[in-house]
């Protein structure tokens, strides 16, 4: 189960709506206790994908390294990654599955016509062949 506190949730939704019709991406910092995860900070990161961002995102490894350092400096963990799917569902796509390190929680926000619609959290398996839905609670 992953719980996103009110402030980071509002930040994630605002970020996803602000980049519409393009995809946004960012890091989620907080605490991990076994399978219980709590997101306390949402950190916007740049979508560095070459070309159109309408259906693609990419994180620079150095930006992720900076997010991990920020988490350590705050005494937190890097809990996962969020990104948006403009005008489509919050599924974990084949593109997501093939290109994502399967260690983290991945929250996908569906933005329909510029407005938040729904979200899901996903846990890809180690083989990157499937992703399991994780219970998501947000304020």
């Amino acid at each position: 189960m992953i719980r996103v506190a009110g402030e980071p949730w509002r930040e994630m939704v605002a970020h996803a709506q602000s980049t519409y019709p393009n995809e946004c991406c960012g890091a989620m910092l907080g605490r991990v206790d076994g399978e219980q995860k709590e997101v306390l900070v949402a950190m916007r990161l740049e979508n560095s994908s070459a070309g159109s961002h309408a259906a693609r995102y990419e994180l620079r490894p150095e930006d992720l390294l900076a997010a991990d350092k920020e988490a350590r400096a705050r005494g937190m963990d890097l809990v996962g990654i969020y990104h948006s799917h403009p005008d489509c569902g919050a599924y974990f796509s084949e593109t997501d599955l093939k290109n994502s390190c399967p260690w983290y929680s991945f929250i996908v926000l569906s933005i329909q016509k510029g407005t938040f619609d729904h979200a899901n959290s996903w846990l890809p398996n180690a083989e990157q062949t499937a992703a399991e839905k994780e219970e998501l609670i947000y304020a």
Binding site: L59, E62, H85, N99, S100, W103
Partner: protein, 95 residues
């Protein structure tokens, strides 16, 4: 001894340590020592062929070892090695 920073999801394999001190004169030796100390890490970091998994990047201090001498990059006692995942995706390819 150089140290390796362990990403949160992999700390379950290091007895919850977020940093592991390792022996080795190169990045490759340091990673090898890490997976000798914590054997369950190996399958998370390396393929069956013994190569770093495609989604694993390794940084020496703030530099990607791909732009240095890869796993032959020399390390000093004061160096910090970071394991940084590759992450990308997008909405195309709905299941």
């Amino acid at each position: 001894m150089p140290k390796i920073l362990i990403p949160t999801p992999l700390r379950q394999y290091t007895g919850k340590q977020d940093t592991v001190h390792v022996k080795g004169a190169t990045v490759g030796e340091a990673l090898s020592d890490l997976t000798t100390q914590h054997k369950d890490l190996r399958r998370n970091l390396f393929s069956d062929e013994g190569k770093l998994r495609s989604f694993v990047n390794v940084y020496l201090n703030d530099e990607d070892i791909r732009y240095l001498s890869k796993e032959a990059t020399p390390v000093k006692d004061t160096d910090t090695i970071s394991i940084v995942p590759s992450i990308a995706g997008g909405s195309r390819g709905a299941f």
